[in-house]
Structures are given as C-alpha cells and as structure tokens.
C-alpha cells in the first residue's frame, strides 16, 4: 500500500475518472508492493520510469501529481484506447 505520493496521485486520478463517468478500480501502491500485482494501467511519477520497465501494463508517467490537467491529458487517451479494445 502507498501512503503518500501514490495516494495523492490516486485521488487526482479518482477525481478525473469520476468527472468523466469512468468506472475503474484504482489502487495506491508503493514500488515495494507493486511486484506481482496486476493492472491495466500504471500511473506513476516520471522519475519512477526505470523501475517500471518490466511491469506488464500500460505506463503513464506524470510530472506534476497534483495537476489534474496534466494527468487528465496523459491518462484519458490511454483509458479510452483500452476501453475500445
């Protein structure tokens, strides 16, 4: 479980998904507990990129975790793409 940044990011994501009426299960993990988990999309701070190389999911990297606009612009296209599959 994540306690800080991942939770903050998760709340930003929850707000965005809610605003768009998209239902999704969102979880806040820290890097330590990520291994062995399954997800369609991983949203993470940009500098975690190297730790996520082998994770089997679409990875969305963001710079500002508190910026709904940035997260929205990067996350939504991926969500919509996956929803169409």
């Amino acid at each position: 479980m994540g306690f800080g940044t991942s939770l903050m990011l998760r709340m930003t994501i929850d707000d965005i998904l809610k605003a768009h009426g998209i239902k999704a299960e969102t979880l806040a993990w820290d890097l330590g507990s990520l291994k062995g988990q399954r997800a369609d999309i991983v949203v993470a701070p940009r500098d975690m990129e190297r730790h996520l190389k082998d994770f089997p999911a679409r990875v969305v990297l963001v710079n500002n975790l508190t910026d709904k606009k940035e997260v929205e612009a990067k996350l939504l296209p991926v969500v919509e793409e996956l929803m169409q599959q």
Binding site: M1, G2, F3, G4, T5, L7, M8, L9, R10, M11, T12, A19, H20, L27, A28, D30, L31, A44, P45, R46, D47, M48, R50, H51, N63, N64, L65, T66, D67, K68
Partner: protein, 665 residues
Amino acid sequence: MLNQRRVALLRLLLAPGDRTHTVPTLAKRLGVSERLIRYDLAEIGDWVRHRGAQVRHDPRAGICIHGDCERVLADLESLAKSGKPPAEYVLAPTERHNWIMTLLLEREEPVSIGALADQLGVSRGTVYSDLKAVEERLRHYGLQLVKRPREGVAVAGPETGIRQALVALALERIGMDQLLLTIAQCEQEDRWDLELYDLPPPHCFRAALRALRVVEHFTGLSLTDVWFAEAVLHLAFALHRVSRSRPAEFTASSDTDPSVWQTARLLIDQVETISGTPMPASEVAPLAGLLQKAGLRVGPADRQSLRSTDATPLARKFAAIAESLLAVDLANDSDFISALALHLQPIPHRLAHSPSIVNPLLDQIREAYPELFAVARRAAQVLEQAWGLPIPEAEVGYLTMHLGAALERRRIPRARRVRVVAVCSSGVGTARLLASRLQAALPGVELVAVTSLFSLRETLAASPCDLVVATCPVPALEVPVVQVSPLLFASDLRAIQAALVPDDGANSYQRKGFQPMLQEVLTPELIRLGVEADDWEAAVRAAGQVLVENGAVEPAYVDAMVESIRRVGPYIVVAPGVALPHARPEDGVRRLAISMVQLRAPVAFGHETNDPVSLVFALAAVDVDSHLKALSQLSSLIGTPENAARLRSAAGVAEVLRIMAEQIG
C-alpha cells in the same frame, strides 16, 4: 430558430464542461447524423448571437459557447418556463400536441381554434389536425374533447383523469431522471428547483415530499425511487388542484388492500397538515390506486406518533449535510437519528420562548471539536430554514456533541471493545490520570492494565492488548503504541482513534473513518519558514526534524524518508517546487502529522521537471486512510500554482495559515 433537439444540443454545450465536444461525439450523443448537427450548430449560432455569445470550434477545447453564457442560459430557462411558445422556437408536432393538451387540461373555459393557432404560430388547419391527436390521447385517460360552437374546444371528464394526464405530460417533459435529481437535491437543500409552467409551484412539491418521507418513516412504506418520484408528482398535483378548488371526485373504495388505503389516508392527512390546505377524503382513492400499482409494501402503521410533530425528517436532513461534510455515514445511524430527533423536537418552542440558551460546555466543545462545530453550524442551516429561527451558538454546541458521539461510536466497533494498556514512566500516578481520561473520552475502550514502563513487557505477556497508550517514549512492540500527554488533548484522542482502526487491507480507502482536515494535521508548530538547507537531504531532514521535535515520529523515521528517496529517486517531488517526503507508518510514526518547511534558497532533488524545490511537506501517516482528507486538501493547495507561489514567499506562519484557510474554506 430553436427546436427541441437544438435546445438539447445547446444545453449540452452550456453544461459545465468536462468533455470536449466534437461534431461526431454530439451526433452520437443525440443519435442523429453529423450533417444535422452541423446544421443545428449554425441555427444555434444565430440564436446565441442575439444574446451576446457565439458557437466556437476550438481545435483543442472542441465545440463550445463563448461569450455571455449566463444570458443564453437565462433565456433558455425562461423559454422553458414561459408556457408560451416563443417566436424563436419551433415546436415539434408532439410538443405542440402536449402544449395544447396541457393548456386545455388546466383551463375550464373553452379555447378558440384561432387563439391556439395564433399562440402556436401555425395555421388553423394544423391546429385541427393537432386536436385530432390530442383527442386520441385524452381518450386514454377517460377524457373527451368537447367542441362548442363559437367558443372553441375544452376538455371534459373526471378530475382523476385530468390529473393522470397532467402527471403524464409533466413527466414526459421533465423526464424521470430530472425529477429524481430534483427530489434528491430538495432533500439535501430543502429547495425545489424545478419550475415550469405546467408544474405545480415548488411549495406543493416540498409538501408532497415531506409528507412521503414522514409517512415512509412511520409506516415502513417502501417504494422504489421511480414510484416514489411518481407519488411526489401525484401528490404535488393533488395539492395544487385542490387548492385551486378542483378536488378529485369521490370514488368508492375498490379492491384496494386495506393497509395501502390506510397509508394513502395518512399521506393525504400529512399533506393537509404540512400545507394547511384542507384535503377532501376523495383524494385518498386515486392515491391508493397509485400506491397499489407501485406494489407498495407497508409495515404496521403508527398513527399515534404521526400526530405529534416529529423531528426525524429534520434530523435526517441534518445528518445528510453533516454526512457529506464529514464523509461518514450518518443517515443510517439510527441511534444518531433518533437521539437527534428527540433533541430537536422541543427546540423551536424553546428558542421562541427563551432565546437565551446556556451551554456551559460551549468553549470546551469548540476547542475540542473545532471541525465538528463548523460542520454542525453548517448543517444547522436546515434547522434555521425549517423553523425560521436563528440557531444560537449554544445550540450548535449541543448539535456538535451529537455529532461527536456518533463519530466516536463509529470509531469503535461495539461488538468488541478495544483493549488498551496505559503506560507511564514516572509511575502509576500519571498513568491513572491518563486512565480515567481515556475511559471518559473513549467509552468503547477497555482499559486492561495500567503499568510502568519497566513492567510493560510483563504486563503485556499477562494481559494481551490491541494498543498501548503511553505518556513517554516506548520501545518497539508488537502492538501499536500511541504517545500522548497525560491530560489527553483532542489531538491525542484523535491519534488514539486513528490507531484503533484496524487495517483491513486494500479496500480501506473505501472505509470512511474520521479524517481530520489539513489545518488539524499541519498545525502552526509544524511550520518552519526561511530554513537554510544546502542540499535535498538537509531539506528533508529539516522537515523530518520538525516532526521529531513535535513527537509525531521517531528519529528513525527521518532516516527512512531519506533512504527511500535514495533508493527510488526523487519521486516525492510531487509538483513544481514542492516535495512530499514520507516513509511508512511502521518506520516510526507516532501520530498523524504533516510538517511544512519553506527553504530560504531552493535546492535540487534531481527531478527532471519539478526542480528546484523550495517547499517541503514531510508526511507522517499512521494508516492508509486517516490522512486522506488532509492529503487531498494539501494536493489541491499545492496544485494551485498561485497558492504554491504564495506559500513560497510567505513571511509568517499566520500568512501560511491564511492561505490554507482560503484554499480549503
């Protein structure tokens, strides 16, 4: 010229936007071709241009209305309310039929064909063919269209048929979704927002809604949402028509279930009580018919308690508001509702006759529960509205106590009391003081032992417990430890409560425990301004040291924060110029806290885009959810660039607090 579809389209474009509209998305949404949408957009463009606005195709933001949207909306509203088809709106044939039908249903005297043709802006021939369709529809409700030479046309038939037709027409026009939404809003804000020419006035709806809620509570009447909404509509029309001297005609009771009949009678009685409009007994039968159709199930009716003015609906309203502000479930807390209702019942009388209520605990309550007090004051507005009386602070204090009791009950599951051991290094004296305060403040806690620091291990072996509460630092144990002042301040109680909540894994985010606000977690003593730091590590340690000095974390926690950044990277630089270092609760957190350090000179964390950092918020969380509210408030605070800039240059702690208060409210 607007029409039904163009109005729908325009509303879509005016709705507070989260989506980007394009011609294809709009076509899909309205189920028409893209060509038609383009054509409609051109017509809408003409219409809004006269109102100081324009339709704009922005490559990024999509299609939207620019300019005086307020005026466009206002005109659109009055278009809906006017009841007269305005010149710039072309009615679709079915809209025209419904409009004629509503007009005829509401009037007793005949309307001439010429007048209808004038009002609708169509030929008499069109009106004649429209009337054929209207006649056909009226027959469904057992009504006739009567043509009187030289006078015009009128509707004839039983009042019950007229009502059914009016309800059906209204429902067709507003839509069930809108009706449900309006009811939900009315229950929260006690305001009826749906005002259209063919609807009864708001007070009728509010009376209907209240009557249904009261009867629902006392009889166990249970209706699905849709039937409930229909019953609201039916009752509102009944009240409206009765007050305009159009009572339902008497019909003998048919094969209606006696308990359904009884419920219908209670409802009509209740509407009469609430509205002050005498409701004839003949109103019972049509309502009973509706309830029967709805498949109503009723429990035993308690007529006696209905007679006394009951404050339960008001208590529920209060609960609904407090619930939304506190993010805890209160509406289903029957203890809370019934205790509050009992408390509320005599208040209007008391306020009216002795305006000076004394609450000897007021100051203590405000100090101990500042956030609850604020919530109680907000929620008390529904009481003020209902009674038309201002609620004094002393009364808000009592309401706060009700909220506090409900929250404490929630924190501690009643099935199993939480076992606590109290520890004090200097002997049993202070521990006893602690023990008595603990038991008074947290009735759900079972104090299994009071012990000294040195005999703690023995005590724990003899009496296992869930939590250790200590007035001094305690070495690491298997069970969580909360360090507190022997006087047990409000912040201590919160820390204990936070520790008492069992961690039930991934979904604990869903659990709505008590979550303090940012100002309660990031308190003045945790703010340091103009701190000198040479590098990122010094900055993180400075913020961590503030937590240590305030007893929120063990010194090891600071090392853990630094270690985590070394291992994973500067991911904790969450926004430009802002870092949020933290470690895990088990790394040495004693209580929930967030410190804030403003650096005199910014330092680099090695973050690609967010360097350099000048604000460091060190977070100490005790579990996964008690800090959620504070964290989300912090997120919106630093997510607003102006605020972040103001925090960076704030010259005093008071200024920081002011910026926080402005953002969070």
